[in-house]
């Protein structure tokens, strides 16, 4: 018996253990994923073993819809790689021909990955590919239209948590949500084993201006990774204080 789909957001739904997003480009799969049509809407399978965001949606103990950006949001994606996760985020925030008016800025340093990413962008208006260093705010700033409502960082570098806190400080709007996919293998080996590297990152997030909402364990879907869900507090940015006065 088919399970009743659970709506997580406008363009994302869950059926049992699988996730689907509303395909913004009909008839096209990004990485050969399954597609299906349900009452004239095409849905595209979102593989949780290939996407940490999808894994986090399945494993969170809280409300999974809180992990997703709203339609029409401004999204900053640091470490977009070949853009498979990006495409699903784009499905949700922009929709077909960007009728929601969203913006997904996808930053990636590898020209090989950006090559695929810009192919993706030519089919998906609203997706902005950036070839640049995701650790440097000045390389990202020219492309993003305003502060981001939603930020995801997925970089294979040391000091991922410090970078995330810094970039969230620059780009995340107060009240905006952020996801940090932390890869243990990228941190320095002098930081000890995986568990202590995760603990160190958790401490860095707790000591920052960001509010740590949840640490989501995604083992079995993605090994050696943990996703942190944070929120930027409404009063942490300076200018909102001056606004309120």
């Amino acid at each position: 018996m088919p399970r009743k789909p659970l709506k997580l957001a406008w363009g994302v739904r869950r059926e049992g253990r699988s996730l689907w997003t509303r395909n913004a480009v009909r008839g096209v799969s990004v990485r050969g994923e399954r597609r299906k049509t349900d009452s004239r809407i095409e849905w595209r399978a979102w593989d949780p073993t290939r996407s940490k965001v999808a894994a986090a949606l399945l494993r969170t103990t809280g409300d999974p819809s809180k992990l997703l950006p709203q339609t029409g949001a401004t999204v900053l994606y640091l470490g977009a790689s070949y853009g498979s996760t990006c495409s699903h985020i784009h499905d949700q925030t922009c929709g077909a021909q960007n009728h929601h008016g969203g913006q997904v800025v996808a930053v990636e340093i590898s020209p090989r990955a950006v090559r695929d990413l810009s192919e993706l962008a030519s089919l998906r208006p609203g997706l902005v590919p950036v070839l640049g260093d995701a650790r440097q705010a000045s390389q990202v700033a020219p492309y993003i239209r305003s502060q981001a409502d939603w930020l995801h960082q997925d970089l294979s570098i040391a000091d991922q948590a410090e970078t995330f806190v810094r970039m969230a400080g620059e780009f995340l709007r107060p009240g905006g949500a952020g996801l940090l996919s932390l890869k243990a293998a990228s941190e320095r080996s002098s930081d000890g084993d995986d568990a202590s590297r995760f603990a160190k990152a958790e401490r860095i997030l707790q000591d920052s201006d960001l509010e740590l909402l949840e640490r989501i364990e995604i083992s079995q879907l993605e090994e050696q990774h943990v996703v942190f869900h944070v929120r930027k507090t409404d009063h942490s940015a300076q200018f909102t204080q001056t606004n309120a006065e």
């Binding site: 902005v128 070839l131 492309y143 620059e170």
Partner: protein, 334 residues
């Protein structure tokens, strides 16, 4: 006073957040022009409008991130968003095309192709020699090794291959399709050898041009391997010699983290005759010495130093000899 700016607008803002002056990008907004602008902004340059304002207000501080958190900053309209989106895609494609101008990436392709070709040539050549040798029992598999693939590839039957190699005809003949397969395999080995030679030659040429001093010291192929393993010349130049020394010995390095003794040299350094032809007990000493010299050599190449000449290289090789002469006998076991 501060200057906030993005690609379309620049403003001077005083301490009360009031706009003192502003200039908008007024000339024709084309895709190419915007892509150029975005490229300049990304490299940390100011927009022309921001520069004009900073001349008008020399005391104002330019803030590249200012527009981002400025609550009064005007939003992009729909056309501007579309233009930004298209321009950034174009700029990304331009950046992808520019990647070919990066010698690190070119050397990576060449050096990796060399390694892969060498591996597949070795496997295929060995199979070809064994295969032909199975039929031609009289062929000297060591002495004639180099000519066997070419002889089999150029023959039209096993008998003519035997004639070409100067041995008597085989006792058992391969079947018709079997011969076709053996012949094609041998042609493949010959072609693979050609490809290996030309790839190695191209790698040497690029390495001699890109890392001349390091190529002189370690040989161009070894130098290329080190650059590729380090992930680029810049990273190799900034690497301490202790890391350079064990580049490529990733397995041994991982074992070291779990408590094994540290690796003394990498496959790259070990393949140098100065190291591999030395007695076991001085290899570590020579590898350390050479790694130190190599890390200086690559810094010469990267930071525009004067390349070393043959004389300097000869001195270094002499020093390797001296180390060997100082330790003629293995250390006593306790």
């Amino acid at each position: 006073m501060r200057i906030h700016y993005d690609w379309r607008l620049a403003r001077v803002i005083d301490s009360e957040a009031a706009v003192v002056d502003e200039i908008a990008w007024s000339s024709k907004r084309s895709l190419g022009a915007l892509a150029d602008r975005l490229h300049d902004l990304q490299s940390g340059r100011m927009s022309p409008e921001a520069r004009a304002l900073s001349e008008r207000f020399p005391e104002a501080v330019a803030d590249a991130m200012g527009a981002m958190s400025d609550p009064d900053w005007p939003e992009l309209d729909e056309d501007e968003q579309k233009l930004l989106s298209e321009a950034s895609t174009r700029l990304a494609k331009r950046g992808v095309a520019d990647a070919a101008g990066d010698f690190d990436r070119r050397l990576d392709m060449l050096s990796s192709a060399t390694t892969e070709l060498r591996a597949s040539w070795t496997t295929n050549e060995a199979r070809c020699v064994e295969w032909a040798g199975l039929f031609l029992a009289e062929v000297d598999l060591d002495g004639q090794r180099r000519v066997i693939p070419a002889a089999v590839a150029g023959a039209d039957s096993m008998d003519s291959a035997a004639t070409a190699l100067g041995v008597s005809a085989p006792k058992h003949q391969p079947g018709e399709t079997e011969w076709i397969a053996l012949n094609a395999h041998a042609s493949g080995v010959v072609a693979l050898g050609e490809r290996l030679r030309s790839t190695e030659e191209a790698t040497r040429e690029l390495a001699r041009q890109y890392v001349p001093t390091l190529s002189l010291l370690l040989g161009p192929l070894g130098a290329a391997r080190l650059v590729v393993l380090a992930g680029g010349r810049e990273r190799l130049a900034r690497m301490p010699s202790g890391s350079l020394q064990v580049l490529g010995a990733s397995g041994a390095m991982a074992a070291h983290r779990r408590g094994a003794p540290p690796p003394k040299h990498s496959p790259v350094l070990f393949s140098l005759p100065q190291v591999s032809r030395s007695p076991r007990w001085v290899r570590g000493k020579i590898a350390r010495f050479l790694a130190g010299k190599a890390s200086i050599a690559v810094r010469m190449d990267h930071f525009d130093g004067e390349p070393w000449d043959e004389e300097r290289i000869a001195e270094i090789n002499q020093e390797c000899e001296n180390i060997r002469a100082r330790f003629p006998k293995p250390p006593k076991r306790r």
